[in-house]
Symmetry: C2
Subunit: 201 residues, 2 copies
């Protein structure tokens, strides 16, 4: 890559990271392009060169963060145990993906989109894409056959549960409760999809 | 009740209802006491007589809405089927409780509280109280013994799943998907807690 291209890419990346932190910390109404540019140490003009609108910037930031989370999960796949223990490890990993600044930023964007049609029109396809990626990763990591009855819905329930636990955890960090729910949910999931597990696991 | 007390109670109730709709429709940053008072057809002075601060008004509105939802669930208990069908009916009822204007308002308050310590200090005990009421109602409606291993965590997972489905449903009304997840989750829940069901059901 040319140095100029590389610099441009680094600037974009700094803006995306700053956008996540900004959204998580001050919410949508206070999250302006100017504030993100200042936090990223980028001129406002440069920020506007990369992202035409405020919506573009924050949707791109969440898209990048979502894909990064799914990528991380896949990279950890090799280190996961097999059999029943694998189910609990995968559930814990999915639930962990719905925490931190990325998820907090997602909730702020989601809440804002509920009342802003222009933003909503961009958030819906974002959510669909990231949701699809997360679903596919979950199926692969669990090593289950989605064609078997109930498997698809069980995996979806897994992601919905993770989202619900994430929302609860936004205001309080109740780790021990989350762990107990994850353990019990893994037992239930294993009972439901264990037979659909591919024999290589 | 004296006519004056009755009028005061009706005014308070109108303010609470208007607060829910206002918060669901315009979000926290636009939801002022003045706007709620105008929507409720109440003078600003009267609104401030009932609620000293903006936080007090919206927290009271969510507390009232939460208790009303739990009360509704209990009233429907008599009409529920018994056995396995009961599990699905109860899960569907719980999931339904996390929809509509009340839940949308809750998400807005929740998102705002993440970045506002004073609001957060009031939202946390509210959430704890409503969560405890919902948990107790779920245990009773499912007719399970919470002392049996895994039952408490299964019921918690149920409420976390409902919250996650509710958040997903805030931007899209994907009823058919929700129904499929509810059905599968009911099968899993029944398998997990069926043995802990009290014999009278």
């Amino acid at each position: 890559m040319e140095p100029r291209q590389e610099r441009s890419r680094a600037t974009r990346r700094r803006l995306l990271d700053a956008a996540i932190l900004c959204l998580a910390e001050v919410g949508w109404s206070g999250s302006t392009v100017a504030l993100v540019a200042a936090r990223a140490g980028v001129s406002r003009g440069a920020a506007q060169h990369h992202f035409r609108t405020r919506e573009d910037l924050f949707v791109a930031a969440l898209r990048h963060a979502g894909a990064a989370r799914v990528g991380e999960m896949r990279r950890h796949a090799a280190g996961l145990p097999t059999g029943r223990e694998r189910t609990e490890a995968v559930v814990a990993m999915l639930v962990d993906a719905y925490t931190g600044a990325e998820f907090a930023a997602g909730v702020q964007l989601w809440a804002a989109a509920a009342n802003a049609p222009a933003l909503r029109a961009q958030v819906l396809p974002l959510e669909e894409d990231v949701g699809r990626q997360a679903h596919r990763a979950a199926v692969e990591l669990l090593g289950v056959d989605e064609g078997a009855p109930g498997v698809r819905e069980s995996v979806q329930a897994c992601l919905d549960l993770a989202r619900g636990l994430g929302l609860a955890g936004l205001l309080t960090d109740d780790g021990p409760r989350r762990e107990r729910v994850v353990r019990q949910w893994a037992v239930m999931l294993d009972a439901a999809v264990g037979a659909a597990r591919s024999p290589v696991r």
